[in-house]
């Protein structure tokens, strides 16, 4: 998704302006002129100025479409790949604490291998081996407390 200068300039200008207005609600530091709002307000001002610059460039090229979709958006299998990557990450974040690392990671990997076209007979082998390897590296060696979830009974 490509935005033209007018749209990206408008968005930056809006973000910068909101920032400057929002920072005015920050309390002043006692006995100091420089409150916690000063630096973010300067950053907001900078963003707004960048926005103005893009708007200026954009308005001088009126023919430029506001939004140009990238090539892959017209290809169903690429849209599917993109959706699976994002959905897979959301799935992991939502269920890992309840279901546990082993099952979640195995499903997570299987979905991706399937989507990226790995041969079907290899998928279970790869998913199990990679999950075990990752668990060994992070849980056993690096002591990261990966959740056990449903498999709490066999936790080591």
């Amino acid at each position: 998704m490509r935005l033209n200068d007018t749209v990206s300039g408008g968005l930056l200008l809006a973000l910068g302006t909101v920032l400057v207005i929002h920072t005015r609600s920050f309390p002043a530091s006692p006995g100091q002129e420089l409150g916690p709002g000063l630096f973010p307000a300067l950053v907001g001002g900078g963003l707004a100025l960048c926005g103005l610059r893009f708007l200026w460039c954009g308005l001088r090229q009126p023919g430029d479409p506001w939004l140009t979709m990238e090539e892959w958006v017209r290809r169903p299998h690429m849209v599917r790949n993109f959706a699976v990557v994002i959905a897979d990450l959301i799935f992991y974040a939502l269920v890992v604490d309840t279901v546990g690392f082993f099952l979640t990671a195995a499903i997570f990997l299987s979905a991706l291998f399937l989507t990226f076209g790995v041969r079907h007979r290899w998928i279970p082998v790869l998913a199990v081996c990679v999950t075990l390897g990752m668990h060994f590296a992070f849980y056993t060696i690096l002591h990261v407390p990966l959740p056990w979830g449903w498999l709490e009974g066999i936790a080591w």
């Binding site: 490509r2 916690p36 973010p40 950053v43 690096l142 990261v144």
Partner: protein
């Protein structure tokens, strides 16, 4: 001298040497696979370094990146796909040489001159960093303020594309750095009531998202054509390299010096060093007409430049805490985690650790010769590993690595959000490096700005009152106004010509 011996004792233990060897192999693998970059390797290594002492943790990153930058040359020569962006500048030239039957020569030169450039950068790092630290000890908040601002300014102006996009990207990074209560007034800013945001965004999930997840997304939405390495065998790669060294003394030196300078500038890394160096090589060559037809000169010069840039990027990182490139931005985060706060005092408080880092750099560059030779010999097999298998594994690594920072699923969400932001930014030609520098340096910039303003009692003229601060301030302003001046000069010249 005592500290140097201590440093040797710290490095030459089976554990540290094992870490160096393992990370070298990891770096070579990541570098050889197109689509996996040296920065990504570093970001993925952060969670792994958690359980390590400071020296092996830093050794791990220094070795992996040095190897990855060299290994990026291999698929460039064999497939015409650069393994890392740092090899992109001379990839076509290298592939043309391979097609002309000179695969051994080009791969050998890539290896040998990577080592030469790398060692040059390390020597400069070892000699200048302690001397600079002596000077930096006298710095006050005024000097640091200008130094950080100059660094950020360079990052914007040197980043590819339009400076306005670099500037917007920098402001975005600075904005992210303001989240949380870690500011001079200790007031929770932009936390929206979230407890997790109280301490701001953690650098690691942001980095992993921006450098690794965005790459996986790019893979997911691109045509994956299986890699087809060339069929011809690779023979004796070191044959004739000494002759090349004697023939191209000046280009090697020029590439190493230029790479070192570019690397030390904040925000510019090995890839920009290689591009500039390749351009200069063609410009100063006695045979510029041979460039593009399979000529080794540019490859030698820019191959040396990208590896020398890698080491010199550590100079500002160690001495001032200002990263020279995206890789050292991650390293600075790790240094803080390990209690080795970067800055001039690190040379006084932890000299043995700093010397140990220097030794590791030499070791990594020397180790590159046998391991690089091995990597070239096995390249055809490594390149056969399908990316459809690698990318899901990397994505799981991203998830677990982000989780490992705080053992919280929230950071996985942060990684996802920043991965999407980075993808959208790159699709719209906004460079990523200024955002990362803004995020890393935002806190330092604000802290030094507020401290200086309080000291100066609100008078901005105090920012120019000390000699070094004044010079840095003038330099920063000159860089800011250079586009206006250049525009005016060009218009004047055009008017005169008309």
């Amino acid at each position: 001298m005592e500290h140097v011996w201590q440093a040797f004792e710290l490095v030459f233990t089976p554990y540290v040497l094992g870490v160096v060897l393992a990370s070298a192999l990891f770096g070579l693998f990541v570098g050889s696979i197109p689509g996996l970059t040296a920065t990504m390797a570093t970001a993925l290594l952060v969670p792994v370094t958690f359980v390590m002492d400071p020296v092996p943790a830093i050794a791990c990153m220094a070795t992996a990146t040095a190897m990855a930058i060299f290994a990026g040359d291999i698929p460039g020569a064999l497939l015409r796909i650069p393994g890392t962006p740092a090899s992109a500048a001379y990839c076509d030239e290298a592939y043309t040489m391979t097609c002309n039957g000179e695969a051994e020569k080009v791969l050998g030169a890539g290896l040998v001159f990577s080592v030469v450039g790398g060692l040059f950068g390390v020597i400069v790092l070892v000699t200048t960093a302690p001397a600079l630290a002596e000077v930096a000890l006298k710095f006050s908040s005024f000097e640091y303020f200008w130094l950080v601002l100059l660094g950020l300014t360079c990052a914007v102006f040197i980043s590819p594309g339009r400076p306005a996009k670099g500037l917007a990207s920098l402001f975005f990074g600075l904005l992210i750095s303001t989240v949380g209560f870690e500011n001079p007034a200790a007031y929770p800013r932009f936390t929206f009531g979230s407890e997790q945001l109280m301490s701001g965004f953690q650098l690691t999930p942001v980095m992993i998202g921006m450098f690794a997840l965005s790459e996986v997304i790019r893979y997911a939405v691109s045509n994956d054509t299986p890699l087809q390495p060339i069929k011809q065998g690779i023979g004796r790669i070191f044959q004739g390299q000494w002759g090349l060294m004697k023939q191209y003394k000046m280009p090697v030196l020029r590439g190493s010096v230029l790479g070192t300078i570019v690397g030390a500038l904040p925000g510019t890394g090995a890839d920009i060093a290689a591009w500039i160096s390749y351009g200069l090589s063609k410009r100063f060559s006695k045979t510029p007409e041979k460039f593009g037809k399979g000529h080794i000169e540019g490859i030698i010069e820019s191959g040396a430049a990208n590896n020398s840039a890698l080491a010199s990027a550590w100079i500002p990182a160690l001495v001032f805490g200002i990263p020279g490139d995206s890789i050292t931005a991650i390293v600075i985060g790790v240094l803080y985690l390990k209690g080795m706060n970067p800055g001039p005092t690190i040379f006084i408080e932890n000299p043995q650790n700093i010397y140990a880092v220097f030794i590791v750099f030499f070791l990594a560059n020397l180790l590159m010769i046998p391991l690089g030779w091995m990597a070239i010999k096995t390249a055809k097999n490594v390149l056969r590993v399908p990316r459809s298998v690698l990318m899901p594994i990397i994505l799981l690594f991203c998830v677990v690595g982000s989780f490992a920072i705080n053992n919280s699923v929230f950071d996985v969400g942060v990684m996802l959000a920043f991965g999407l932001i980075a993808y959208a930014m790159e699709a719209n030609d906004f460079p990523i490096a200024p955002t990362i520098l803004g995020l890393v340096l935002g806190g330092m910039l604000e802290q030094n700005f507020v401290t200086s303003m309080i000291k100066a009692d609100g008078h901005f003229s105090a920012f120019f009152a000390r000699p070094i601060a004044g010079s840095l301030g003038v330099a920063t302003l000159l860089v800011w106004f250079s586009p206006l001046f250049l525009g005016w000069w060009r218009r004047r010249r055009a008017a005169a010509a008309a």
